[in-house]
Amino acid sequence: MSRTVRGKVAVVGIGETEYYKRGEAPDAEFKLALKAILAACEDAGISPKRVDGFASFSNDRSDPSHLAAALGVDDLRFANMQWGGGGGGGSGAIANAAAAVATGMAECVVVFRALAQGQFGRFGQGPQRDVIAGDGAHTVPFGLMSPAQSFAMKVTRFMHDHGVEQNALRAISLASYHHAQNNPRAVMHGRPLDEEKYDNSRWIVEPFHLFDCCLENDGAAAMVLVSAERAGDFPHKPAYILSALSGSHYRAGASVHNTPDYASSTFKTVVPRLYDMAQVKPADVNVLQCYENFTGGVLMSMVEHQFCDPEGCNEFFVKDNLIAPSGKLPTNTSGGNLAECYMHGLGLNIEAVRQIRGQSTNQVDDVDVALVASGPMVTPVSSSIFGTEATL
């Protein structure tokens, strides 16, 4: 088992800025990135000058060389971007950073994501130009132009194939908002959601109500990765990486909605490799963070991570099963992208580390294994599994 990152790398520092509604961050995006990295280094008890690598995803605009210059990094050894949009690279960036540390290319790598949509424009809007060419010419003129619109047709087909009802999606949203009420960092802290409010909320695009859709936020998040040999030298309990990898199925990237396996969250080929590397089974997972661009993607991801049979969704996806500490599988325990903050999902990985440490505001008892699924329905997607020292 030499060709694995299992147990070779640990997260020893996590940091976040305050989370803001989109357009409301008082700082520039690059400064947000710096603040999150400084916070993660402080959490790890290290000087930012000793960081020697940066990894990010989704075309983050904060260039590693500029970051290294701004932080006074002594010796930049690793500068990495995971290809692909949306949140699909959240765990992939961690995988890349872990690979660099495990193979000795770098010693101390920061994984980060920074977003200031007020500074750079929103995700949830269509293109505002006069003409469009290429793949977009075959979708945008029909009014298919936002992420919600791109993914709703996949979810509709999945729900049709497996008889999934709207209440299954609702349960995912209710659980996220439930967790956010205990999390003072959450943008939706103090804004609870119940069944009636969900049911009465407007449609964005069927089958997504308003509360099925992620937030749009400004902020930044970062984590510090070092080799397992050094992990005991830091102030907090290490979160060891048991597995982290990315991928997608045959022609997942076929244009104009032509991927053969259409009604998929794109995880089917990733998940067997994920569990093999981690040497855990779905039943071993104590707590789940599952990227929510839209609730339908969460549902499909959880099915493809083998937590639920596709024909059993209506029974499995009820709020009580998804909430900490007592649910069958507490999910999105920070409030996640729906109710904590949309930081392209890196916040989900940070929440997984908190659960391993025992520091979540919705802590699950006796967590040894925490799984993160990043970015459903895009390509590539990625997943990561974190474990305590006891799992090594």
Partner: protein
């Protein structure tokens, strides 16, 4: 007849010419899709080589403009200023069984609040915008 309000980005052929035959044919009420000259299989969207046999001999061929609804969505929230007063509209993903089940995106003509059944047969409706600058044609769909 135009299904959606005017003002969305207008489709133009790709500058590299990859999908030009599709748009030219649509302006003549003809549906042309990409077919490999070597292995005879269809593929869509258009690509530079055949993804099955990797032949560069990929051309366009007229096909019967009929298919089945593979999936659909009813959009309510406008994400473009041109659709501010549009109200709901239906996007369908149409599968063409006679063409290796390639899929096309379009709108479903008719009542935007009509019920839609996955698997229902549809035929193309060529929605011309001859007075637009530049002029273009959208391949829309209507129930058979």
């Amino acid at each position: 007849m135009s299904y959606l309000a005017a003002g969305l980005p207008k489709p133009v052929p790709a500058p590299d010419g990859l999908d030009s035959p599709f748009w030219e044919a649509a302006s003549r009420d003809v549906l042309m899709l990409q077919r490999c000259g070597s292995c005879s299989e269809f593929q869509w969207g258009p690509e530079w080589i055949c993804h099955r046999c990797h032949s560069e001999d990929v051309g366009f061929e007229e096909v019967r403009p009929v298919g089945n609804i593979y999936s659909y969505e009813r959009v309510w929230h406008p994400v473009h200023p041109a659709l501010k007063d549009q109200g709901p509209y239906i996007i369908v993903l149409v599968e063409l069984p006679e063409c290796n089940n390639v899929r096309l995106v379009g709108n479903l003509m008719g009542d935007p609040e009509q019920s839609v059944e996955i698997g229902a047969p549809v035929q193309a409706f060529f929605e011309h915008h001859r007075d637009a600058e530049p002029p273009f044609t959208l391949v829309q769909w209507e129930k058979v």
